[in-house]
C-alpha cells in the first residue's frame, strides 16, 4: 500500500549524549525502550523515535534504571501514567486472553481434529475398475520401461505405473 511516512526522524542507535555511563544499565534501558511505544508517533518504539516525547521518556527510564528500579516497576510506572497503550507487548491478562490464546487454540483444535480423523476407520483401498486401468494403460503406454522400484524399502512395492504417477505428481 502507499505508505506516507510522516516522521523523517530516526534514533535507534542511541544518541551518545543520552547514554548512561554503566554499559549494563544502558543495555537494560535500551531493552526497555524497545518495548515502550512512542505514544504520539504513528507506530514506533521510543527506541526508534526522535520525537520530543520519546526523548523525554528515554530520559525518565534511564533515570529510573540508574536509580535501581526493576523493569517491572518501570513498566508499572509508565502504565500508571499513560495506560496499557504504552506497552508494545500487551500484558497477559484476562482481557487479552483471546489475543494470546486464540492462535494456539486454533492450532490445538486443528491438531485434535486431524488426529481424530487419522484414527478413524482405515481408508479402504479401492482397486481400479477395468475401464480406469484401461484408460491409465493408454495414458502411460504399454512399453513404459519398469522404473527401479524405489518403494521396496518402504515395505510395499509400487508398480511401475504407480511410481510413474508419483513422479508426474511432483511439485508445487
Amino acid at each position: 500500500m502507499i505508505a506516507l511516512f510522516s516522521l523523517g526522524l530516526i534514533a535507534a542507535a542511541s544518541d551518545p549524549s543520552e547514554r548512561l555511563p554503566d554499559p549494563a544499565q544502558e543495555d537494560r534501558a535500551r531493552h526497555l525502550f524497545q518495548q515502550i511505544r512512542c505514544v504520539v508517533c504513528q507506530n514506533e518504539s521510543i527506541d526508534d523515535s526522535e520525537a520530543g516525547l520519546a526523548h523525554d521518556l528515554r530520559g525518565i527510564i534511564r533515570d529510573q534504571v540508574r536509580a535501581g528500579r526493576s523493569d517491572a516497576e518501570i513498566r508499572r510506572f509508565l502504565v500508571a501514567r499513560y495506560g496499557q497503550f504504552i506497552l508494545l507487548r500487551p500484558s497477559f491478562s484476562a482481557e487479552n486472553a483471546a489475543l494470546w490464546l486464540l492462535p494456539f487454540a486454533v492450532l490445538a483444535a486443528g491438531g485434535v481434529y486431524l488426529v481424530l480423523r487419522a484414527r478413524g476407520p482405515r481408508p479402504p483401498e479401492t482397486p481400479l475398475s477395468a475401464r480406469e486401468s484401461e484408460a491409465l494403460a493408454a495414458l502411460v503406454g504399454p512399453e513404459e520401461p519398469p522404473v527401479q522400484p524405489e518403494g521396496e524399502r518402504h515395505g510395499f512395492a509400487p508398480t511401475a505405473l504407480q511410481e510413474k504417477r508419483d513422479e508426474d505428481q511432483t511439485g508445487l
Binding site: L4, F5, D48, L88, W100
Partner: protein, 663 residues
C-alpha cells in the same frame, strides 16, 4: 479536456461492468452462446475503458495539469518523470484506479484466455468479476474520483511526499496491487464453483495458475515494500509488524495456504471445501487490507492517505463481497463430495499440516492487527500489540512448520513411509544441526534461539536440495541417468525447490540479522572516526548537493577495514522545498551478504568543541538473504507457473489419447 475524457472513460467502465455482470448472468440463465460471448467482450471492454481512464490520469501527471485536483495534490513540475508517473498511484484516488485497472485486467484475461475453462464456470467467474468491478469502479466514480477539476488551478503542485520518491517505492504499488487483486480470480472461481455446486480436480487446476501468479506478484510487492522501509526509514529495520504490513501479509499467508491445499485438490480431489474457503479468504484479506490501510482505523508507521468516510465505503464493499462469498460457502459447501482418502503419513497429510500452521499464523496476525480495535470498541481502553507478540506467537508456530517442511515433498501420495523419508533427510538434518551449532559457537554474543533459527533455515534449504538429490539419484546412478531424471522433472518441482530454498535462506538471514546486527553512533568532526565491528568510519568532509527537486547536505565518510578502503559512504540529509520536508538518505555499502548502513544525523559540537555531526552506523549481517530469499520464492512461483501451460497441454493430449482408446 483530458480529465473529462478520463472521467467519461471511468463512467463508461462502470456501465460496462454492469453490462458484463448482466450479460454473464443472462447467458447463464438462458444458456445463450451469443450472450456469453457478449459478457466476455464486455469484460475486455471494461479493461480498455479503465485503461483509458488510467492513461488520462497519467497524461495529467506527465503534463503537470494542475487543474486536476488530484494531480495538484500529488505532483510538481520539478519532479523527475518516473516520480511524476509514480504519483499516479501516490494517493488514495489514483491507487484505487490502479486497483480497478488490475481487477478489470484480470477479468479481461479470464475472458480472453480461458478457452479451456468450462463454459458454465467461465460465465459465472466473469459474473463475479463483474460484480467486483461494479463495486470498486462505482466507489471510484462516486466517492473517490481522481478527475475532479479545480476552479482556480494553482501554478505549482503540492508534490509527492519525498519519502515516496524512491525507485523501489515507485514500482512497489503496481506489484502489490497486481498481487492483491490477482486473488480476485481464485475468489470468483470459488464463487462460480459454489454456484455450480461442483468442485473437482479440474477446478483446482484452474485456480492454481491464477493463485500462483498473484502469490508471486504479492511476494515481490511485499519484498519491495520491506526493502523500501529498510533503507528509507533509516534505522535498519525491515519488518515492524505494523498494521499496514500485516494487511499485506494476511492475504499472502492465505494465498500460500491456497497454493498448497489446491495441490491436494488437484492431484487427489480431496480438501475441496477447504480449498474453496481459502480462495474466498485470500481475496477477503486483500479487501480487508485495503480497508485497514485506507480507513485509518489503525495507527501505522506507514501513515497513509487516510479518509474515514471512504473507509466506511470500503468496509461496506468488503462486507458485501466477502459476506456473500462466505454465505454461499456455508450454504453450498456441505454438499461437496468427499475427495480421495489418505493415510496420516502421506503427502496429502503433510500439506494439510502445512495448511494448519499457515491458518494458525494467519489467525495470529489477524488477532494482533484487529485485537486493539476490538478491545477499544468493547472496553474503551487502548492497547498496543507490538513485535514482541509476534515473537511469542508467530515465530514458534512458524518454526514448527519449518521443522516439518522438508519431509512433505519426499512423502509419497496416499501413504508415505516416514522412516524412509527421515533416512533420506539425515544429511539435511546434519547440515541444519551443524549450522545451528556453528552459528552458536562462532558468534558473540551467544543467542541460542537465533542460532536455532539459522539451523532451521539451513535445514529447509538442505532439505529442498535433498529432494533434488533424491529425485535425480545424484551419486547413486550414472551421470547420464541422473541427467535424464533431472531433465524429466516437471518445472513445477523445480519451482517448489526454488521457493523452499528461498524460504530457508530468508529464515537464515532473518535469524542471523536480528541477533547479530551491530550498531554504533557518535558525533564526528571532520577527521573523527567511529568503529563498528571490523570497520572504521572516518568523516572526510561535508558538501552541498543540488538535486532535481531537493537540496542536500552530503556527508562523505571513508569506510576502511584493516586500513584498506572499503567504500565511501555518502549519506545525505535532503530538503524538498515543494513539501517543506526533510528526509535522510541512507548510505549502504554492500559487503557480500551483509550491509554497512550509515545515516547522517543532526549537526552539533563534537567532544573537542569543533562542529560535528551525529553519525549512526549499523552492521546488518546476512541481510541480503532477507531480500533475496523472497525473490527466489517469487521466482519459484513463476517457474512453477511456466509448468502449468505445459501440463495443461499434456492433459489435453492425454484426454485425446483416452478418447482415442475409447473410440
Amino acid at each position: 479536456m483530458i480529465a473529462e475524457l478520463g472521467a467519461f472513460s471511468l463512467i463508461l467502465a462502470l456501465v460496462l461492468s454492469a453490462a458484463q455482470t448482466a450479460l454473464a448472468a443472462a447467458g447463464r440463465i438462458t444458456g445463450s452462446e451469443p450472450l456469453r460471448r457478449a459478457a466476455e467482450g464486455a469484460a475486455a471492454a471494461v479493461f480498455l475503458a479503465v485503461g483509458g481512464a488510467f492513461a488520462a490520469l497519467t497524461t495529467g501527471f506527465v503534463t503537470s495539469d494542475f487543474s486536476i485536483l488530484y494531480v495538484a495534490a500529488n505532483s510538481h513540475t520539478d519532479k523527475p518523470l518516473i516520480y511524476k508517473i509514480a504519483g499516479v498511484w501516490g494517493g488514495h484516488e489514483g491507487s484505487l484506479l490502479l486497483w480497478c485497472l488490475a481487477l478489470t485486467g484480470y477479468g479481461a484475461a479470464v475472458a480472453l484466455t480461458g478457452e479451456r475453462l468450462p463454459r458454465g464456470l467461465k460465465g459465472l467467474t466473469l459474473m463475479s468479476q463483474g460484480v467486483l468491478a461494479l463495486l470498486f469502479i462505482g466507489f471510484a466514480v462516486f466517492a473517490s474520483n481522481p478527475f475532479l477539476r479545480l476552479a482556480s488551478p494553482p501554478v505549482e503542485g503540492r508534490s509527492l511526499n519525498p519519502l515516496l520518491q524512491d525507485p523501489a517505492l515507485a514500482i512497489h504499488p503496481p506489484f502489490l496491487y497486481a498481487g492483491y487483486v490477482g486473488l480476485s480470480i481464485p475468489f470468483s472461481l470459488a464463487i462460480a464453483a459454489l454456484i455450480e455446486g461442483r468442485v473437482d480436480a479440474a477446478w483446482a487446476r484452474w485456480v492454481r495458475p491464477w493463485a500462483l501468479a498473484a502469490w508471486s506478484l504479492l511476494t515481490v510487492g511485499i519484498t519491495l515494500g520491506s526493502f523500501w522501509a529498510y533503507y528509507e526509514l533509516g534505522w535498519g529495520g525491515w519488518w515492524f509488524w505494523d498494521p499496514v504490513e500485516n494487511a499485506s501479509f494476511m492475504p499472502w499467508l492465505a494465498a500460500t495456504a491456497l497454493l498448497h491445499s489446491s495441490i491436494v485438490t488437484e492431484k487427489r480431489g480431496a480438501l475441496t471445501g477447504w480449498t474453496v474457503f481459502l480462495a474466498l479468504l485470500a481475496f477477503s484479506f486483500s479487501m480487508l487490507g485495503a480497508f485497514l490501510v485506507r480507513s485509518g482505523v489503525l495507527t501505522s508507521v506507514h501513515a497513509f492517505a487516510v479518509d474515514p468516510q471512504r473507509g466506511v465505503i470500503l468496509l461496506a464493499i468488503l462486507g458485501l463481497a466477502a459476506g456473500a462469498g462466505f454465505a454461499l460457502f456455508a450454504w453450498r459447501a456441505p454438499r461437496f463430495a468427499p475427495g480421495g482418502v489418505f493415510a496420516p503419513i502421506s503427502r496429502e497429510a503433510s500439506l494439510v499440516l502445512n495448511n494448519l500452521f499457515l491458518a494458525t499464523v494467519a489467525v495470529a496476525v489477524l488477532m494482533g492487527t484487529l485485537y486493539p480495535l476490538v478491545v477499544e470498541a468493547v472496553t474503551g481502553k487502548t492497547i498496543s500489540v507490538g513485535p514482541a507478540y509476534y515473537g511469542i506467537v508467530f515465530v514458534p508456530i512458524m518454526a514448527a512448520a519449518l521443522l516439518v517442511l522438508p519431509a512433505g515433498p519426499l512423502l509419497s501420495w496416499k501413504r508415505g513411509d516416514l522412516s524412509g523419508v527421515l533416512q533420506r533427510l539425515a544429511a539435511a538434518g546434519g547440515i541444519g544441526l551443524a549450522s545451528a551449532l556453528g552459528a552458536y559457537l562462532l558468534s558473540d554474543p551467544k543467542h541460542a534461539l537465533s542460532a536455532l533459527g539459522v539451523g532451521l533455515g539451513a535445514w529447509v534449504v538442505a532439505g529442498a536440495l535433498s529432494e533434488v538429490v533424491e529425485r535425480g539419484r545424484i551419486g547413486r546412478s550414472s551421470f547420464v541417468e541422473t541427467a535424464r531424471r533431472l531433465a524429466a522433472l516437471p518445472t513445477g518441482a523445480w519451482g517448489m525447490t526454488l521457493a523452499h530454498i528461498g524460504l530457508g535462506l530468508f529464515v537464515m538471514g532473518a535469524a542471523y540479522e536480528t541477533a547479530w546486527k551491530l550498531e554504533a553512533a557518535d558525533i564526528l568532526a571532520p577527521g573523527g572516526d567511529l568503529r563498528i565491528g571490523q570497520y572504521r568510519l572516518t568523516l572526510d568532509h561535508l558538501e552541498s548537493v543540488q538535486g532535481p527537486n531537493f537540496t542536500a547536505d552530503r556527508t562523505v565518510i571513508r569506510v576502511t577495514r584493516h586500513r584498506r578502503l572499503v567504500c565511501d559512504a555518502e549519506p545525505e540529509r535532503r530538503f524538498y522545498p515543494a513539501n517543506r520536508q526533510s528526509t535522510t538518505k541512507v548510505a549502504l555499502c554492500f559487503e557480500g551478504l551483509s550491509d554497512l548502513y550509515v545515516v547522517a544525523g543532526d549537526t552539533r559540537p563534537a567532544a573537542n568543541g569543533q562542529p560535528g555531526q551525529l553519525i549512526r552506523a549499523y552492521w546488518n549481517p546476512w541481510v541480503r538473504f532477507i531480500f533475496l530469499g523472497p525473490v527466489l520464492m517469487a521466482l519459484g512461483g513463476l517457474v512453477s507457473l511456466s509448468d502449468r501451460r505445459l501440463r495443461l497441454a499434456a492433459g489435453r493430449r492425454a484426454a485425446a489419447v483416452v478418447q482415442g482408446a475409447r473410440a
